[in-house]
């Protein structure tokens, strides 16, 4: 089999067979897709980050037990077990990959972007992270150490970025508007204060 049309036919065939066998219900499949397309996305992670920026006790809990801390905000489910937050600092930058497949903390970041699954990112970010980050638009000064974290079924990492300057006294909601998916993977910084949405 090759090509998208063949894939589409084969998946349709598989689905109809499994439904006929009573192994799965079409409504259950529809519900999963709706959930991941509409309900789960990086906004969840952005709220986690904004809470950590404004509440030192929450930040400490997040760094101690990521899974429990995201559950406090109501986030959990498949691929939400064993979530570990790694915190950026002025001289330390974290970036996350899954070298083997595409392990990713779905409940807080949604499903991974296409490039996260591509062999180029999965292999090169480990070998030459500084160069790959620069190619992706994040040029880090040489004095900043880069640590690459390989997510797996056992541990799924996400990055707690540094709070942007000029955001003192901001609400969590406004702070969350600065936190992008890419910032939580570690291939970008949060947006600067000037790009916040009002609110």
């Amino acid at each position: 089999m090759s090509g998208a049309d063949d894939d589409a036919l084969r998946i349709e065939a598989l689905e109809s067979l499994l439904v006929e066998k009573g192994l799965v219900a079409r409504e259950a499949i529809d519900a999963v897709i709706r959930h991941y397309e509409q309900d789960v996305g990086p906004l969840n992670g952005a709220k986690v980050v904004a809470r950590a920026w404004t509440d030192p006790a929450y930040r400490a809990r997040l760094l101690a037990d990521g899974t429990a801390a995201i559950a406090e905000l109501g986030y959990g489910g498949p691929q939400g077990e064993h979530v570990v937050a790694v915190e950026n600092g002025p001289r330390l930058h974290h970036v996350v990959v899954c070298t083997l497949c595409s392990c990713y903390p779905w409940p807080i970041l949604g499903l991974p972007p296409g490039w996260y699954k591509e062999p180029a990112y999965r292999s090169r970010i480990v070998r030459e992270p500084r160069r790959v980050l620069a190619e992706m638009g994040l040029a880090l000064p040489p004095e900043v150490e880069i640590r690459v974290w390989d997510s797996s079924a056992e541990i799924r990492y996400f990055v707690l970025p540094e709070r942007p300057a000029g955001t003192e006294g901001w609400s969590e909601e406004r702070l969350a508007s600065l936190v992008t998916r890419d910032a939580m993977i570690g291939v970008a910084k949060p947006k600067p204060a000037a790009e916040a949405s009002r609110g």
Binding site: L9, E12, L14, E15, L23, D30, I33, P42
Partner: protein
């Protein structure tokens, strides 16, 4: 990267495709059906997630080697192969059965209405011009 060459689509309103920081979650409807099918089967207790993941890792590795040789990398094809292998190993659905059913579906007359409206519901999300990467 990918979001920069994403097609121009409505980004707000009822016709807007779901986006995740400017990127569609799936490139094609069959990818979302495959994803939903896999998670629904797992939720039903048909397999342990790691049984699937180990097969996915193997299929991804095989396609990494192909990609290094210049072939395109198709993540959800790896996912499909992993799921089919797992279902065959569990005795839940044999590969030959799937091929036979796919052949029957392919033989449908053009313009058929096969009573599975999901493809059509999702059609606005599908950009036929966009491949992987």
């Amino acid at each position: 990267m990918a979001e920069r060459d994403a097609p121009a689509l409505d980004s707000a309103g009822p016709a807007a495709p779901p986006r995740r920081n400017g990127e569609l979650v799936f490139d094609a409807p069959w990818e979302s059906r495959l994803f939903g099918l896999t998670l629904a089967l797992h939720a039903q207790g048909r397999f342990a997630w790691d049984e699937f993941r180990q097969r996915l890792i193997a299929e991804v590795a095989a396609r990494d080697r192909d990609a290094a040789g210049g072939a395109g990398f198709a993540y959800y094809e790896a996912w499909r192969a992993a799921l089919e292998d797992l279902l065959a190993a569990k005795g839940l659905c044999a590969g030959a059965e799937i091929g036979e059913r796919a052949g029957a579906l392919a033989a449908r007359p053009a313009g058929h209405d096969h009573g599975h409206p999901h493809d059509h519901e999702h059609a606005p999300l599908h950009d036929h011009g966009r491949g992987h990467g």
